[in-house]
Symmetry: C2
Subunit: 566 residues, 2 copies
Amino acid sequence: MRVVIIGAVACGTKVACRLKRLRPDAEIILIDKDNYISYGGCGMPYYLTGDVSHIDELRRTAFHVLRDDRFFKEVKGINVLIRTLAEEIDRKNKVVKIRYLENNKIEKISYDKLVLAVGSIPKIPPISGCDLDGVFTLSNLHDAIKIKERLISGKVEKPLVIGAGFIGLEVVEAFGESWGLPVTLLEYFPQVLPRFIDPPLSRIVENHLKKKGVNIILNARIKEIKGKNGKVIGVQTEDKFYPADLVLLATGVQPNTEIAKKAGILVSPITGGIVVNERMQSSDPDIYAGGDCVEIKHLVTGKGVVMPMGSLANRQGRVIATNIAGGYATFKGTVGAFILKCFDMAIGGCGLNLESSRLEGFESATYALNIQHERAHFFSIGCSYYALVFDLRTSKVLGFQTVGPYTDGTLARIHAISSILPFKPQIEDLVSLELAYSPPFNTALDPIHNTAHIAENIKYNRFKPISWDEVIEKLKNNDKNIIIIDVRNPNEAKELTEKYSNWINIPYEVARTQIRNLPKNKDLIVICSVGARAYEVARWLDAEGFKNVYVPLGGIVLPKSWGVEF
Amino acid sequence: MRVVIIGAVACGTKVACRLKRLRPDAEIILIDKDNYISYGGCGMPYYLTGDVSHIDELRRTAFHVLRDDRFFKEVKGINVLIRTLAEEIDRKNKVVKIRYLENNKIEKISYDKLVLAVGSIPKIPPISGCDLDGVFTLSNLHDAIKIKERLISGKVEKPLVIGAGFIGLEVVEAFGESWGLPVTLLEYFPQVLPRFIDPPLSRIVENHLKKKGVNIILNARIKEIKGKNGKVIGVQTEDKFYPADLVLLATGVQPNTEIAKKAGILVSPITGGIVVNERMQSSDPDIYAGGDCVEIKHLVTGKGVVMPMGSLANRQGRVIATNIAGGYATFKGTVGAFILKCFDMAIGGCGLNLESSRLEGFESATYALNIQHERAHFFSIGCSYYALVFDLRTSKVLGFQTVGPYTDGTLARIHAISSILPFKPQIEDLVSLELAYSPPFNTALDPIHNTAHIAENIKYNRFKPISWDEVIEKLKNNDKNIIIIDVRNPNEAKELTEKYSNWINIPYEVARTQIRNLPKNKDLIVICSVGARAYEVARWLDAEGFKNVYVPLGGIVLPKSWGVEF
């Protein structure tokens, strides 16, 4: 059996290595246009930060063996053709036409099974100047090397990143923290990580970026990248010119499907990914596809999506190898689990965010917000923020997001939710999760539990949530119909009771008896630090017959974490 | 509605507080024999370490309010009777007889609903000397205060702990690390954490304890605790006398069911816990029970168990409150998730360990073992060890255990597995888990994936596992029928190839071609550092027609982590 694999980074090499272990007799030919193969692409930002000291560290096994073409050939017995372009697939005759980039020679290679692991290509924004010297993408090791060389040369003084997605946020940390450079970040959408997290959390990240010295511009409408003598000098938006001597385009990727399309293999007109079944077979059953180039099923919406993640590529490669070897394995889809580090923060999520939920037709999608230490207070390393997106009508869990200090605690909560999300849980299933506890690791009720409890309280109308945006708007407009009941300690409340005539302090400790005299014809907005005491006081108000009682989701710590000054 | 709750630590106070929020009109009476109520009992070892500076830190809310009886009464409107013993329940008349411990006055209180949250009592070993001065348990704040006072007094020079369970392991850290004392740990079973983790991992913990200076004695057969003038002077086992001036009995707890039994409420003769249904109702539907005193269902075995965990007590309290308030909530059971810190290590698990699996009738239970960094190598904080217990016949996942450096990464893996364990997953479901990845948090394939892959390889007979114990035994006996094929680098293998004539080095990089000449009539045992390269070489040997090829689970790093000297 001869198996030809096009693409040798994550999915392709995983197919090759596992297949060789399952079927040592299989003849495997691994083709890649690059000379660098089998590397940890997700580590590239950390080559820029310096956590990875040499680019080869991204190419080595855990045992320090360099995974180059020689390694695959000599150690593993897998044929590798580097610097070789797969140009065409003749499906009828089961032949791939390849071109050796060193000498432009063309050859035809027959296959029994073919694997397309051709990855993605960066999306380049449709503006002029993207080809100027000093404008980069970060889509392979050559890019990473060039950017680092430029940084080392000392010629970079004003780096600018376009796009506040995963790569963008990881790279501003490198430029800002590791290289001490004043970095500008431009984002088209009104938030960082659009479609991944929602504004209550994205604003926390944005404020963190500002505190770290990042000049972050949201809603940026870029007109062009400007140059002088062929070199980049800055970026022009509709509003302003941002000088820059290095510009990184971190505007996402799209599936690389050129060869598949040319061969008549089905490519989704909606997502642009190669269509595969659960066994990762394309529309031609002898041709498998996996990694960034395929469309997979989103397990919350049931629809096709493209999800370019190294972890998924590895798992898909394993499925392909098992199936080619004669076994039976499936890849059922994705819940879109992600995690990233951004300066001192960890950001993670899975499922749909609120915006995506509504776009996907979950009209009654809403969210619960929880703020808490993720360990016992005497082991705490700071507050984390958790948002649970759920369908108010059906109680279905749609997604979960968290931001907080850089700790694996973030991973723990995403691991739990992404593990059960394929089982289509309801809020009640999160309430019932068993999550290990001892004080150096957790609170007796996990942050997931507490977030789900808040969702339940919303579902059962135990309090009326209101957004901080609305509260702030009412305060600004000097709305005489509201009274803010601040149930924190007097010393915490003082600053704002002195500033706003309708901001009054009734400390939680005495609230149960003192709330009785509040006016019944006003909207009462009960606030505290994180929301727990406010919720309880709202229940007491309810018991006293007050009707218009609201509790902002998240307590006053939330808008403060956005940088709001009251 | 009057609700009487007996017991006011974890479950009882959770019932009271939540019920009051759901039904502010409910009259709630919370009874406890102690003056300390509503405290974080799991934090007591950290009062001894000093992480918790004052005992009241275990009694405060996240907002620093002391949760004493006054707090419950004045702030929350919950009646609390401290220093009050509930002596008898008259179920027919729905009355509880109480005794005020301050003045021995007796009173009868009627109830509409009664909640038993009476907790557990320490198991005292049936030996003499347990009542000597200097012999303690750690089952409430008074114990914690007395032990700390003793430590502060400077009179403790030789502390000794009996029992290497959760409390025992947490407390030896306090004595050893925080107080710098030479601590002795006696355990009846041949391992630490019996029934929770298996020897391949428990030995790592034992070696860690030794390195930290703990004098750990397994298989200890204690005859008596010896005293002089009423004060403890040491512990006598069948073999030896261990001098000690402080002895902590950490030999477990049992459900406190005296009052339940007296009232004719059904108590399990097998587990000793109060029998409850999923709504946490006892055999008397007007009497609920929760926390350490109840029997709950183990979701892997389907059988009743007693699982005294603060996290479960809190969740059960919430279920009870919802049901009493007129809602509908259930507690379906436990998967026994746990986590603990022991010196620099994190130890976690859920489900059944191998020993328990076999005792529960899973005759073909076996385990897979994986060793790896839990983050990308450039963010690694050290190796972790993962064991997956599964049923070879049905592929059913029975349990999961991990030990490694103290990090929340341990929590992440336990969170993932404990979340899906109630869904009765098979190995393949773990292979298919979606687990978030980026280098500062994880490896592209999570340690769970890699552990499940090894389990699959065992299931499909892709290699023959052998235990290190067996390998070491064969080496000791100078077994001439085995050859150890060490596929590590020559410099790593050298020490042992020089020592053993049948220990040969064939580096992984050249193994594929060099293995051909090995003798076919010998048992070949292929080893490397963690097992990955050895597995691959074993596959090559298989392809070359070798039949008697074995790969030890875990690589040579495993016995080295036990402290084995080859």
